[in-house]
Amino acid sequence: MSESRGRFVARQPDPSVNVSDTHPLAEAGVLFAGLGAVFIAVVIISVYLVDILVGVVSIEREAQWFGGLRYDEIGELMEGARITTDHAQHEQTVALLETLTEYWPDSTYEFRLLIAESSVPNAVALPGGTIIVTSRLLDDVESENELAFVLAHELGHFHGRDHLRRLGRLALISLIYNATIGAGGFAPNLSDLSLRSFDRQQERDADRFGLELCAAHYGHVAGTGDFFRRLDPGSRSVVNRYVDTHPGMTERLADMTAIAAEQGWPETGPLRPWNEPTTMDAQP
Protein backbone atom coordinates (compact mmCIF):
# COMPACT_ATOMS: atom_id res chain seq x y z
CA MET A 1 0.00 0.00 0.00
CA SER A 2 1.24 3.42 -0.80
CA GLU A 3 2.88 5.44 1.93
CA SER A 4 1.07 8.58 0.84
CA ARG A 5 -2.24 7.17 2.11
CA GLY A 6 -1.00 6.81 5.64
CA ARG A 7 0.34 3.86 7.50
CA PHE A 8 -1.93 0.80 7.33
CA VAL A 9 -2.10 -1.13 10.56
CA ALA A 10 -3.64 -4.58 10.29
CA ARG A 11 -5.98 -5.40 13.13
CA GLN A 12 -8.10 -8.39 13.82
CA PRO A 13 -11.83 -7.70 13.85
CA ASP A 14 -13.63 -7.93 17.17
CA PRO A 15 -15.08 -11.43 17.03
CA SER A 16 -17.54 -10.99 19.87
CA VAL A 17 -20.11 -8.82 18.07
CA ASN A 18 -21.69 -11.70 16.21
CA VAL A 19 -21.95 -14.04 19.16
CA SER A 20 -24.23 -13.34 22.12
CA ASP A 21 -22.51 -13.72 25.43
CA THR A 22 -25.43 -15.57 27.07
CA HIS A 23 -24.19 -18.92 28.34
CA PRO A 24 -25.88 -21.72 26.38
CA LEU A 25 -26.88 -23.44 29.61
CA ALA A 26 -28.57 -20.27 30.87
CA GLU A 27 -30.44 -20.10 27.57
CA ALA A 28 -31.42 -23.76 27.91
CA GLY A 29 -32.53 -23.28 31.52
CA VAL A 30 -34.76 -20.32 30.74
CA LEU A 31 -36.33 -22.05 27.73
CA PHE A 32 -36.95 -25.37 29.48
CA ALA A 33 -38.39 -23.79 32.60
CA GLY A 34 -40.55 -21.30 30.72
CA LEU A 35 -41.90 -23.67 28.12
CA GLY A 36 -42.29 -26.44 30.71
CA ALA A 37 -44.54 -24.14 32.72
CA VAL A 38 -46.53 -23.31 29.60
CA PHE A 39 -46.83 -26.99 28.74
CA ILE A 40 -48.13 -27.87 32.20
CA ALA A 41 -50.63 -25.03 31.97
CA VAL A 42 -51.77 -26.29 28.57
CA VAL A 43 -52.19 -29.82 29.93
CA ILE A 44 -54.31 -28.59 32.84
CA ILE A 45 -56.42 -26.31 30.66
CA SER A 46 -56.95 -29.12 28.14
CA VAL A 47 -58.08 -31.48 30.87
CA TYR A 48 -60.72 -29.02 32.07
CA LEU A 49 -61.71 -28.09 28.54
CA VAL A 50 -62.24 -31.75 27.67
CA ASP A 51 -64.22 -32.27 30.88
CA ILE A 52 -66.57 -29.55 29.71
CA LEU A 53 -66.77 -30.97 26.20
CA VAL A 54 -67.46 -34.49 27.48
CA GLY A 55 -70.47 -33.14 29.34
CA VAL A 56 -71.84 -31.86 26.03
CA VAL A 57 -71.56 -35.22 24.24
CA SER A 58 -74.65 -37.27 25.03
CA ILE A 59 -74.39 -40.99 25.71
CA GLU A 60 -76.48 -41.61 22.57
CA ARG A 61 -73.96 -39.62 20.54
CA GLU A 62 -71.11 -41.53 22.15
CA ALA A 63 -72.77 -44.83 21.25
CA GLN A 64 -73.26 -43.56 17.72
CA TRP A 65 -69.57 -42.75 17.42
CA PHE A 66 -68.03 -45.74 19.12
CA GLY A 67 -70.76 -48.34 19.70
CA GLY A 68 -70.21 -49.95 16.33
CA LEU A 69 -66.59 -50.98 16.88
CA ARG A 70 -66.05 -54.30 15.12
CA TYR A 71 -64.46 -57.29 16.87
CA ASP A 72 -61.28 -57.02 14.80
CA GLU A 73 -60.99 -53.31 15.61
CA ILE A 74 -61.38 -54.06 19.31
CA GLY A 75 -58.89 -56.91 18.98
CA GLU A 76 -56.31 -54.49 17.68
CA LEU A 77 -56.81 -52.31 20.76
CA MET A 78 -56.36 -55.42 22.90
CA GLU A 79 -52.94 -56.23 21.49
CA GLY A 80 -54.29 -58.51 18.80
CA ALA A 81 -56.39 -60.73 21.05
CA ARG A 82 -59.30 -62.59 19.45
CA ILE A 83 -62.61 -61.04 20.49
CA THR A 84 -65.53 -63.37 20.97
CA THR A 85 -68.77 -64.00 22.79
CA ASP A 86 -68.24 -67.72 22.39
CA HIS A 87 -67.04 -68.60 25.85
CA ALA A 88 -68.43 -70.95 28.48
CA GLN A 89 -68.89 -68.16 31.00
CA HIS A 90 -70.04 -65.39 28.66
CA GLU A 91 -73.75 -65.64 29.42
CA GLN A 92 -73.09 -65.90 33.11
CA THR A 93 -70.89 -62.82 33.03
CA VAL A 94 -73.47 -60.86 31.01
CA ALA A 95 -76.07 -61.82 33.60
CA LEU A 96 -73.83 -60.57 36.39
CA LEU A 97 -73.25 -57.31 34.53
CA GLU A 98 -76.98 -56.85 34.06
CA THR A 99 -77.58 -57.47 37.73
CA LEU A 100 -75.04 -54.81 38.60
CA THR A 101 -76.45 -52.24 36.16
CA GLU A 102 -79.78 -52.51 38.03
CA TYR A 103 -78.05 -50.63 40.83
CA TRP A 104 -77.27 -47.82 38.40
CA PRO A 105 -80.76 -47.01 37.14
CA ASP A 106 -79.84 -43.63 35.62
CA SER A 107 -77.58 -45.26 33.06
CA THR A 108 -78.70 -44.90 29.46
CA TYR A 109 -75.79 -46.96 28.17
CA GLU A 110 -76.50 -50.16 26.35
CA PHE A 111 -73.66 -52.32 27.50
CA ARG A 112 -72.02 -54.93 25.36
CA LEU A 113 -69.81 -57.50 27.06
CA LEU A 114 -67.15 -59.20 24.97
CA ILE A 115 -64.39 -61.62 25.81
CA ALA A 116 -60.81 -61.24 24.65
CA GLU A 117 -58.78 -64.42 24.47
CA SER A 118 -55.69 -63.44 26.38
CA SER A 119 -53.33 -64.89 28.95
CA VAL A 120 -53.29 -61.61 30.89
CA PRO A 121 -56.10 -61.05 33.41
CA ASN A 122 -57.62 -57.69 32.54
CA ALA A 123 -60.83 -55.79 31.91
CA VAL A 124 -61.27 -52.72 29.74
CA ALA A 125 -64.03 -50.16 29.15
CA LEU A 126 -64.25 -48.83 25.61
CA PRO A 127 -66.24 -45.77 24.51
CA GLY A 128 -69.79 -46.55 23.45
CA GLY A 129 -70.56 -49.01 26.26
CA THR A 130 -68.30 -51.92 25.38
CA ILE A 131 -66.74 -53.86 28.23
CA ILE A 132 -64.01 -56.36 27.47
CA VAL A 133 -62.90 -59.01 29.94
CA THR A 134 -60.08 -61.38 29.14
CA SER A 135 -60.57 -65.13 29.23
CA ARG A 136 -57.75 -65.37 31.74
CA LEU A 137 -59.63 -63.09 34.13
CA LEU A 138 -62.68 -65.36 33.97
CA ASP A 139 -60.49 -68.41 34.56
CA ASP A 140 -58.69 -66.83 37.49
CA VAL A 141 -61.50 -65.26 39.53
CA GLU A 142 -62.18 -67.10 42.73
CA SER A 143 -65.59 -65.66 43.54
CA GLU A 144 -68.49 -63.92 41.88
CA ASN A 145 -67.85 -60.98 44.21
CA GLU A 146 -64.39 -60.54 42.80
CA LEU A 147 -65.60 -60.50 39.19
CA ALA A 148 -68.54 -58.29 40.15
CA PHE A 149 -66.14 -55.68 41.47
CA VAL A 150 -64.05 -55.77 38.29
CA LEU A 151 -67.19 -55.27 36.18
CA ALA A 152 -68.55 -52.60 38.52
CA HIS A 153 -65.23 -50.81 38.36
CA GLU A 154 -65.53 -50.70 34.57
CA LEU A 155 -69.10 -49.44 34.95
CA GLY A 156 -67.56 -46.76 37.16
CA HIS A 157 -65.48 -45.64 34.20
CA PHE A 158 -68.65 -45.24 32.15
CA HIS A 159 -70.23 -43.42 35.09
CA GLY A 160 -67.35 -40.95 35.05
CA ARG A 161 -67.19 -41.17 31.24
CA ASP A 162 -63.49 -41.66 31.75
CA HIS A 163 -62.69 -43.40 28.46
CA LEU A 164 -64.14 -40.45 26.58
CA ARG A 165 -62.27 -37.99 28.76
CA ARG A 166 -59.03 -39.85 28.25
CA LEU A 167 -59.52 -40.03 24.51
CA GLY A 168 -60.32 -36.33 24.32
CA ARG A 169 -57.37 -35.29 26.47
CA LEU A 170 -54.94 -37.43 24.57
CA ALA A 171 -56.18 -36.15 21.24
CA LEU A 172 -56.09 -32.51 22.27
CA ILE A 173 -52.72 -32.64 23.97
CA SER A 174 -51.09 -34.74 21.26
CA LEU A 175 -52.30 -32.17 18.79
CA ILE A 176 -50.78 -29.27 20.70
CA TYR A 177 -47.70 -31.27 21.48
CA ASN A 178 -47.03 -32.37 17.94
CA ALA A 179 -47.56 -28.87 16.65
CA THR A 180 -44.91 -27.57 19.03
CA ILE A 181 -42.30 -29.58 20.89
CA GLY A 182 -42.88 -32.74 18.88
CA ALA A 183 -41.30 -30.97 15.95
CA GLY A 184 -38.17 -30.53 18.05
CA GLY A 185 -37.73 -34.27 18.20
CA PHE A 186 -38.60 -34.82 21.83
CA ALA A 187 -40.44 -37.76 23.29
CA PRO A 188 -43.98 -38.09 21.93
CA ASN A 189 -45.07 -39.97 25.05
CA LEU A 190 -44.46 -37.00 27.29
CA SER A 191 -48.01 -35.76 26.83
CA ASP A 192 -49.34 -39.19 27.62
CA LEU A 193 -47.21 -39.37 30.75
CA SER A 194 -48.25 -35.96 31.97
CA LEU A 195 -51.88 -37.10 31.94
CA ARG A 196 -51.40 -40.14 34.07
CA SER A 197 -52.02 -38.51 37.41
CA PHE A 198 -55.48 -37.69 36.10
CA ASP A 199 -55.86 -41.34 35.06
CA ARG A 200 -55.00 -42.49 38.56
CA GLN A 201 -57.67 -40.21 40.02
CA GLN A 202 -60.19 -41.70 37.59
CA GLU A 203 -59.24 -45.19 38.75
CA ARG A 204 -59.88 -44.21 42.35
CA ASP A 205 -63.28 -42.80 41.42
CA ALA A 206 -64.10 -45.95 39.46
CA ASP A 207 -63.07 -48.06 42.47
CA ARG A 208 -65.43 -46.06 44.67
CA PHE A 209 -68.29 -46.55 42.24
CA GLY A 210 -67.47 -50.26 41.92
CA LEU A 211 -67.54 -50.69 45.68
CA GLU A 212 -70.86 -48.88 45.85
CA LEU A 213 -72.50 -51.27 43.37
CA CYS A 214 -71.02 -54.32 45.10
CA ALA A 215 -72.13 -53.12 48.50
CA ALA A 216 -75.62 -52.46 47.15
CA HIS A 217 -75.86 -55.91 45.59
CA TYR A 218 -74.19 -58.12 48.17
CA GLY A 219 -74.65 -56.02 51.29
CA HIS A 220 -70.88 -56.18 51.88
CA VAL A 221 -67.66 -55.61 49.95
CA ALA A 222 -65.83 -58.85 50.79
CA GLY A 223 -63.78 -60.30 47.94
CA THR A 224 -63.69 -57.06 45.98
CA GLY A 225 -59.98 -56.54 46.40
CA ASP A 226 -58.99 -60.12 45.57
CA PHE A 227 -58.13 -59.29 41.98
CA PHE A 228 -55.62 -56.65 43.04
CA ARG A 229 -54.30 -58.76 45.87
CA ARG A 230 -53.32 -61.46 43.41
CA LEU A 231 -51.74 -58.95 41.04
CA ASP A 232 -49.84 -57.04 43.73
CA PRO A 233 -46.24 -56.79 42.59
CA GLY A 234 -45.09 -55.37 45.92
CA SER A 235 -43.68 -51.94 46.56
CA ARG A 236 -43.41 -49.43 43.73
CA SER A 237 -40.61 -47.04 42.90
CA VAL A 238 -41.14 -43.31 42.53
CA VAL A 239 -40.76 -43.70 38.76
CA ASN A 240 -43.45 -46.35 38.67
CA ARG A 241 -45.78 -44.23 40.70
CA TYR A 242 -45.40 -41.42 38.19
CA VAL A 243 -45.69 -43.63 35.13
CA ASP A 244 -48.53 -45.94 36.16
CA THR A 245 -51.97 -45.31 34.78
CA HIS A 246 -53.40 -47.06 37.84
CA PRO A 247 -52.53 -46.43 41.47
CA GLY A 248 -50.29 -49.04 43.08
CA MET A 249 -52.21 -52.12 44.20
CA THR A 250 -51.31 -51.73 47.86
CA GLU A 251 -52.31 -48.08 47.80
CA ARG A 252 -55.52 -48.99 46.00
CA LEU A 253 -56.51 -51.66 48.48
CA ALA A 254 -55.87 -49.23 51.33
CA ASP A 255 -58.05 -46.63 49.60
CA MET A 256 -60.80 -49.19 49.11
CA THR A 257 -60.68 -50.22 52.76
CA ALA A 258 -60.90 -46.55 53.74
CA ILE A 259 -63.90 -45.97 51.48
CA ALA A 260 -65.68 -49.06 52.84
CA ALA A 261 -65.02 -47.95 56.42
CA GLU A 262 -66.23 -44.43 55.66
CA GLN A 263 -69.44 -45.69 54.03
CA GLY A 264 -70.00 -48.37 56.66
CA TRP A 265 -69.88 -51.25 54.18
CA PRO A 266 -68.87 -54.49 55.91
CA GLU A 267 -65.61 -55.90 54.63
CA THR A 268 -66.53 -59.45 55.46
CA GLY A 269 -69.44 -61.53 54.28
CA PRO A 270 -70.25 -64.72 52.41
CA LEU A 271 -68.65 -65.00 48.95
CA ARG A 272 -70.62 -66.43 46.06
CA PRO A 273 -68.73 -69.05 44.08
CA TRP A 274 -67.83 -68.59 40.43
CA ASN A 275 -67.07 -71.29 37.88
CA GLU A 276 -68.93 -73.88 39.89
CA PRO A 277 -72.25 -75.31 38.78
CA THR A 278 -74.00 -74.21 41.97
CA THR A 279 -75.32 -70.85 40.81
CA MET A 280 -78.77 -70.77 39.25
CA ASP A 281 -77.62 -69.60 35.86
CA ALA A 282 -74.71 -72.01 35.60
CA GLN A 283 -73.91 -73.62 32.28
CA PRO A 284 -75.29 -77.12 31.74
Binding site: M1, S2, A10, R11, Q12, P15, N18, V19, S20, T22, P24, L25, E27, A28, L31, F32, G34, L35, T180, I181, A183, G184, G185, F186, A187, P188, N189, L190, L193, S237, V239, N240, Y242, V243, D244
Partner: protein
Protein backbone atom coordinates in the same frame (compact mmCIF):
# COMPACT_ATOMS: atom_id res chain seq x y z
CA UNK B 1 -42.09 -52.43 33.88
CA UNK B 2 -42.71 -51.68 30.23
CA UNK B 3 -43.65 -48.17 31.24
CA UNK B 4 -40.43 -47.66 33.16
CA UNK B 5 -38.52 -48.68 30.06
CA UNK B 6 -40.58 -46.37 27.90
CA UNK B 7 -39.95 -43.53 30.37
CA UNK B 8 -36.22 -44.18 30.17
CA UNK B 9 -36.35 -44.28 26.39
CA UNK B 10 -38.57 -41.25 26.08
CA UNK B 11 -37.02 -38.95 28.63
CA UNK B 12 -33.77 -40.48 29.86
CA UNK B 13 -32.29 -41.09 26.43
CA UNK B 14 -32.87 -37.61 25.00
CA UNK B 15 -31.64 -36.12 28.26
CA UNK B 16 -28.44 -38.16 28.16
CA UNK B 17 -27.95 -37.23 24.52
CA UNK B 18 -28.48 -33.60 25.42
CA UNK B 19 -25.81 -33.69 28.13
CA UNK B 20 -23.33 -35.62 26.00
CA UNK B 21 -23.95 -33.36 23.00
CA UNK B 22 -23.47 -30.28 25.15
CA UNK B 23 -20.19 -31.46 26.66
CA UNK B 24 -18.72 -32.75 23.40
CA UNK B 25 -20.01 -29.75 21.45
CA UNK B 26 -18.53 -27.30 23.95
CA UNK B 27 -15.11 -28.96 23.87
CA UNK B 28 -15.04 -29.02 20.07
CA UNK B 29 -16.23 -25.43 19.82
CA UNK B 30 -13.68 -24.15 22.29
CA UNK B 31 -10.88 -25.92 20.43
CA UNK B 32 -12.08 -24.60 17.09
CA UNK B 33 -12.24 -21.01 18.32
CA UNK B 34 -8.71 -21.33 19.65
CA UNK B 35 -7.48 -22.60 16.30
CA UNK B 36 -9.36 -19.84 14.46
CA UNK B 37 -7.89 -17.13 16.67
CA UNK B 38 -4.37 -18.48 16.24
CA UNK B 39 -4.67 -18.68 12.44
CA UNK B 40 -6.38 -15.29 12.17
CA UNK B 41 -3.50 -13.76 14.09
CA UNK B 42 -1.05 -15.33 11.64
CA UNK B 43 -2.99 -13.93 8.67
CA UNK B 44 -3.58 -10.53 10.18
CA UNK B 45 -1.39 -8.67 7.72
CA UNK B 46 -2.67 -10.52 4.66
CA UNK B 47 -4.95 -8.10 2.77
CA UNK B 48 -8.48 -9.28 2.03
CA UNK B 49 -11.08 -6.84 0.80
CA UNK B 50 -14.58 -6.73 -0.58
CA UNK B 51 -13.97 -4.13 -3.29
CA UNK B 52 -14.19 -5.39 -6.88
CA UNK B 53 -11.27 -3.28 -8.04
CA UNK B 54 -7.72 -3.27 -6.80
CA UNK B 55 -6.42 0.02 -5.38
CA UNK B 56 -5.31 2.16 -8.36
CA UNK B 57 -1.64 1.98 -7.53
CA UNK B 58 -1.50 -1.81 -7.46
CA UNK B 59 -0.30 -3.82 -10.44
CA UNK B 60 -1.25 -7.47 -10.59
CA UNK B 61 0.84 -10.02 -12.46
CA UNK B 62 -1.45 -12.95 -11.80
CA UNK B 63 -4.97 -13.57 -10.51
CA UNK B 64 -6.91 -16.65 -9.62
CA UNK B 65 -10.32 -17.54 -8.21
CA UNK B 66 -10.02 -18.85 -4.67
CA UNK B 67 -12.66 -20.82 -2.86
CA UNK B 68 -12.82 -21.62 0.83
CA UNK B 69 -15.68 -23.72 2.03
CA UNK B 70 -16.90 -25.44 5.17
CA UNK B 71 -20.00 -27.43 5.95
CA UNK B 72 -21.22 -27.19 9.52
CA UNK B 73 -23.95 -29.09 11.29
CA UNK B 74 -25.77 -28.66 14.56
CA UNK B 75 -25.23 -30.80 17.58
CA UNK B 76 -28.27 -32.23 19.34
CA UNK B 77 -28.08 -29.70 22.16
CA UNK B 78 -28.07 -26.70 19.83
CA UNK B 79 -30.87 -28.19 17.77
CA UNK B 80 -33.15 -28.80 20.76
CA UNK B 81 -32.51 -25.38 22.28
CA UNK B 82 -33.04 -23.72 18.91
CA UNK B 83 -36.20 -25.79 18.45
CA UNK B 84 -37.55 -24.48 21.75
CA UNK B 85 -36.47 -20.97 20.80
CA UNK B 86 -38.38 -21.40 17.56
CA UNK B 87 -41.61 -21.67 19.54
CA UNK B 88 -41.36 -18.20 20.99
CA UNK B 89 -38.96 -16.42 18.67
CA UNK B 90 -35.97 -14.26 19.44
CA UNK B 91 -32.23 -14.54 18.91
CA UNK B 92 -31.20 -18.11 18.28
CA UNK B 93 -28.16 -17.74 20.46
CA UNK B 94 -26.97 -21.31 20.18
CA UNK B 95 -26.58 -20.93 16.41
CA UNK B 96 -24.52 -17.76 16.60
CA UNK B 97 -21.16 -19.23 17.61
CA UNK B 98 -21.67 -22.03 15.11
CA UNK B 99 -22.17 -19.68 12.19
CA UNK B 100 -19.44 -17.38 13.44
CA UNK B 101 -17.06 -20.33 13.38
CA UNK B 102 -18.21 -21.26 9.90
CA UNK B 103 -17.72 -17.76 8.51
CA UNK B 104 -14.29 -17.36 9.99
CA UNK B 105 -13.17 -20.86 9.06
CA UNK B 106 -14.29 -20.41 5.43
CA UNK B 107 -12.41 -17.10 5.25
CA UNK B 108 -9.32 -18.69 6.78
CA UNK B 109 -9.39 -21.52 4.27
CA UNK B 110 -9.64 -19.03 1.44
CA UNK B 111 -6.84 -16.84 2.71
CA UNK B 112 -4.53 -19.67 3.78
CA UNK B 113 -4.85 -21.14 0.32
CA UNK B 114 -4.04 -17.85 -1.32
CA UNK B 115 -1.03 -17.31 0.87
CA UNK B 116 0.26 -20.87 0.41
CA UNK B 117 0.12 -20.44 -3.37
CA UNK B 118 2.18 -17.31 -3.15
CA UNK B 119 -0.49 -14.68 -3.71
CA UNK B 120 -0.27 -11.32 -2.02
CA UNK B 121 -3.90 -10.34 -1.49
CA UNK B 122 -7.49 -11.34 -2.13
CA UNK B 123 -10.00 -8.87 -3.53
CA UNK B 124 -13.75 -9.05 -4.17
CA UNK B 125 -14.29 -11.40 -1.25
CA UNK B 126 -17.83 -12.73 -0.94
CA UNK B 127 -19.46 -15.02 1.60
CA UNK B 128 -22.37 -17.23 0.69
CA UNK B 129 -24.39 -19.88 2.48
CA UNK B 130 -26.47 -22.73 1.20
CA UNK B 131 -28.54 -25.16 3.16
CA UNK B 132 -27.91 -28.87 2.86
CA UNK B 133 -31.10 -30.86 2.35
CA UNK B 134 -32.12 -33.40 4.95
CA UNK B 135 -33.41 -36.84 4.08
CA UNK B 136 -36.13 -36.43 6.71
CA UNK B 137 -37.58 -33.45 4.90
CA UNK B 138 -38.29 -30.51 7.11
CA UNK B 139 -37.20 -32.09 10.35
CA UNK B 140 -33.87 -30.67 11.41
CA UNK B 141 -31.09 -29.39 9.24
CA UNK B 142 -28.37 -31.57 7.84
CA UNK B 143 -26.02 -28.64 7.67
CA UNK B 144 -25.11 -25.33 6.15
CA UNK B 145 -22.31 -24.70 3.73
CA UNK B 146 -20.40 -21.48 4.22
CA UNK B 147 -18.61 -20.53 1.03
CA UNK B 148 -15.99 -17.79 0.80
CA UNK B 149 -14.89 -16.77 -2.70
CA UNK B 150 -12.47 -14.12 -3.84
CA UNK B 151 -9.89 -13.21 -6.43
CA UNK B 152 -6.35 -13.84 -5.29
CA UNK B 153 -3.78 -11.54 -6.90
CA UNK B 154 -0.03 -11.54 -7.13
CA UNK B 155 1.42 -8.07 -7.16
CA UNK B 156 4.31 -6.71 -9.20
CA UNK B 157 4.75 -3.76 -6.91
CA UNK B 158 3.08 -2.94 -3.66
Amino acid sequence: MGDTISLIINIGLPLTLLVVAYIVGTIIERRHFKSIERREAALRAFPAMTSEQMPADWTATESQLMVGSIVVSLDYFKRIIAGLRGLIGGRVKTYEPLLDRARREAMLRLLEQARTRGFDAVINVRLETSRMANSQGDRGTAGVEMLAIGTAIRLATR
